[in-house]
Symmetry: C2
Subunit: 253 residues, 2 copies
Amino acid sequence: MATGRTERPAHRGRGIPEATVARLPLYLRALSALSERGVPTVSSEELAAAAGVNSAKLRKDLSYLGSYGTRGVGYDVEYLVYQISRELGLTQDWPVAIIGIGNLGHALANYGGFASRGFRVAALLDADRAVAGQRIAGMVVRHMDDLEQIVRDDHVSIGVITTPAPAAQGVCDRLVAAGITSILNFAPTVLSVPEGVDVRKVDLSIELQILAFHEQRKSTSDGAAPNLPPAAPGAAASRAGDVGGDLPEVMPA
Amino acid sequence: MATGRTERPAHRGRGIPEATVARLPLYLRALSALSERGVPTVSSEELAAAAGVNSAKLRKDLSYLGSYGTRGVGYDVEYLVYQISRELGLTQDWPVAIIGIGNLGHALANYGGFASRGFRVAALLDADRAVAGQRIAGMVVRHMDDLEQIVRDDHVSIGVITTPAPAAQGVCDRLVAAGITSILNFAPTVLSVPEGVDVRKVDLSIELQILAFHEQRKSTSDGAAPNLPPAAPGAAASRAGDVGGDLPEVMPA
DNA sequence: TAATGTGAAGCTTTTCACAGCC
DNA sequence: GGCTGTGAAAAGCTTCACATTA
């Protein structure tokens, strides 16, 4: 999410669009796969296909980083891996702390994908003293009391919040107070943070609801229902204003 | 409000912008909290604050659903909860299958947030016969062999893929062949699907990389480094200088 | 009077299409 | 000949500001 800061480093050619930044990791992943297969160069068409975007968009995106391709040939895979890694800041180490060691925190602690690109799980924390002390994924879970000290000593730069929703804002505030300016929030709640702190969220429930919206459209607009869903049992009952009268169970044409 | 009239809600049909759809769940969550606290009405200003957006955007978003507010007053909380729920398709039941019961699948199976809004975990599946048969979150894990039958018999409408990346496309293909048209993918890979199938992805590693990008900018553009990150291991510490790049060699992490 | 609903303006992102270069 | 890099057009999204209405 945008920092809201208006001041720009005034570097010529800087100012990569947010939408582009969000796709760079995708390109990087596709390039890494090519690299492992020993492929030396790749065209925008091929790379775009591997990343699931169209080639014009890919070329435009890459053009914000510089002119790293060769006309008539394509892009050097290794070179591009390096340039994107550098742009994303993956050539440095990013110690991460996971706060809230429930089911999800536990799963993330064991998730291999963390380590792969400069992200290193530096600490696991939990508010429950029964959890603190446990050994998970080769690390001892620390108690929340030590949060500030851990952030300082281990130079934690990214906090991952996997607590229950009610605890999330409090944890967030403490992270921010401890100097952390990048937070990944898995708790289903909106976090409010001061200017300059970036929060990104991962929200299962929101994703499902978006899918449901489109799924609903599919079965109502087509005559042919793919996997007909069973009728609704407990729907939100309307009070306040009889809703049923207006648009009762619409089935728009 | 809402009398028996069949006045069409302004933008019905193909009309609701994708960006708006993605925010409706956020509004719904904020409204549900208000509802539980017994708040009867809410202004766009208040609701927007609770959802973390600005009020003009909120009003515009809601206007795509219809004119559900009252000038001078605000929105009726219960009524709006119902309208958004209906628009999102949450007044019906959405049986979900989770495929791949590793750490993450396990965590999701136990995650309470599923059940809350019409999403019901109908089945857990795994390719490993040692996992199939186990009891998790009150359900018996089924073997992948039964996928097609389960999808059919339980009217599964959404597939959640939590397999390792290499297995994901195969699972996806089978889901699609079985008639599923909505997929939530947690595997770090691009899925290719035919037209008409919706895929949404949740990707931890991408989110972290986006955070890293902004974090890097902060420390290089500001004089004041918040939590100074330790220098990279072997990486060429090329700072914000542009192109210049040579180094066709990679710098993996 | 207070707060919605919405044209219009301003931005951002995507797509097009082709000049330029290897 | 093939493919990148990029202006320009189109589409999509956000914000403004105010007429409108309960």
